[in-house]
């Protein structure tokens, strides 16, 4: 997969890598069993510290998103959440609360906010379907 790192986003580099892998997994751009680039070539390509990539991968491994097979590399895991349902809900609540605060400041009312969430979920489904289409053609 291809990463895009920005030093202007305010998000630590390792977290940008973590988030991009998670997004690729959610949209189906990266499928279970598919390999991630190895640490060294990815660090060289992005011209970021090798430890930064290693930190991102170990975080992803801890989250159960990827697994490392010794001597073979890192792969996206099937059914990847290793966390209990309660913990998953808690983590998501934090993110949703953040979006709600933002919606308040941007004066986006409840109805419109909910509509927007529906719309984004649909958009992600569409993307996933498109990637599944690719898979059948392979």
């Amino acid at each position: 997969m291809l990463f895009l790192i920005s030093f202007k986003s305010g998000t630590p580099i390792y977290l940008q890598i973590v988030e991009q892998v998670k997004a690729a997994a959610a949209s189906g751009a990266l499928r279970a069993g598919e390999a991630l680039p190895s640490i060294r070539p990815l660090a060289e390509e992005l011209r970021v510290n090798r430890n930064t990539v290693a930190k991102a991968y170990s975080e992803l491994e801890g989250l159960g998103v990827i697994e490392t097979l010794p001597g073979r590399g890192c792969f996206l895991k099937e059914n990847h959440s290793a966390l209990r349902k309660g913990v998953r809900r808690e983590l998501l609540t934090v993110e949703i609360d953040r979006a709600i605060v933002q919606a308040h400041h941007l004066q986006v009312p409840r109805e419109e906010f909910l509509e927007l969430i529906q719309e984004r979920l649909d958009a992600l489904d569409d993307k996933r379907r498109a990637h599944e289409g690719d898979e059948k053609e392979d």
């Binding site: 030093f7 202007k8 305010g10 060294r40 060289e44 011209r47 090798r50 430890n51």
Partner: protein, 297 residues
């Protein structure tokens, strides 16, 4: 060696060339495994600081330690632990690249031949070429090979990419990441001095900005980018009362506003939002922009 011993510890270092003070009361600590940037303009005192680490200069006040050792008292032990790429690379002009590397390897207990071969190929260097006919870029590449192959715990780079073309600079940094950092995680420490900050941005864990011999700012790179923000706002009409004293710098042009925040970005954003801006955006400053903002304020 204790793993909690800093790779580099500089305490209250001072050095003057005659009356010209080059370094004044400089302190910094580099933990093992980190990549540490020493940023400063030309003549800020970066090279003098590095020369004290290498025992090329003796500190006049304060002290320097490399893995807990005093470079003046334990010169051989310290030299074994580090390798160095100077800003001006000089080799014996009559030697070939091959002979130069063999000569430099003869001073080292360890020399990774495979890494040497890989890097010679990557840089497209001809081992038979005389060093006298190498370009500045190729000379730096040979110096980097000589610094990486001994697989030392500390790599000191003094303005390594200045005066090189952009392709050579890229290759240099990729080689530092790929070849040097490939070693045991947490054991390969880098100290790099540069004023070409953007190229090293992704590599830097922590940095000190040094100006006229003094450390003016030391921060973790991720934290710095989180703290320093550029905020842009545009209003339908120029807002009259707006308290922006919390901002590091303010630029105004009619209805438009650009702020540099050093922390407190969220509060400034909230304050601007109260005036119903037509447009409001924020982005982090890059390390180079932080460097410029720090030295200009």
């Amino acid at each position: 060696m204790n793993t909690s011993t800093p790779a580099i510890q500089i305490e209250n270092l001072a050095y003057a060339y005659g009356r010209a003070e080059a370094v004044h009361d400089l302190s910094l600590t580099v933990q093992p495994g980190r990549c540490y940037g020493l940023f400063g303009r030309n003549g800020a005192g970066k090279t003098t600081t590095m020369k004290c680490l290498l025992n090329l200069l003796r500190p006049q006040r304060g002290q320097v330690r490399v893995f807990g050792l005093d470079p003046a008292k334990n010169e051989v032990a310290v030299k074994r632990l580090l390798s160095y790429v100077p800003d001006q690379v000089a080799f014996y002009p009559w030697m070939s690249v091959r002979e130069t590397l063999d000569y430099l390897a003869s001073f080292r207990a360890n020399w990774n031949r495979k890494v040497e071969q890989d890097l010679l190929e990557r840089f497209g260097l001809d081992p038979a070429q005389r060093t006298a006919s190498l370009s500045k870029g190729q000379r730096t590449q040979v110096a980097l090979i000589a610094a990486v192959c001994p697989e030392t715990d500390l790599l000191v780079l003094d303005e390594p990419t200045s005066g090189l073309d952009p392709i050579v600079r890229r290759e240099f940094i990729e080689a530092v990441i790929g070849a040097y950092q490939e070693g045991i995680a947490g054991r390969r420490t880098i100290l790099v001095s540069t004023h070409l900050i953007s190229e090293f941005e992704g590599l830097i864990d922590e940095f000190t900005i040094i100006d006229r011999g003094r450390a003016v700012l030391t921060l973790d790179a991720d934290y710095a980018r989180e703290r320093y923000q550029k905020i842009r706002a545009r209003f339908s009409q120029a807002p009259l009362e707006l308290d922006l004293t919390a901002a590091l710098r303010v630029r105004r042009d009619g209805r438009q506003l650009e702020l540099i925040a050093n922390g407190g970005g969220a509060e400034l954003m909230a304050r601007l939002r109260q005036h119903n801006p037509e447009e409001l955006s924020t982005e982090s400053l890059t390390l180079e922009e932080i460097f410029v903002a720090t030295l200009k304020s």
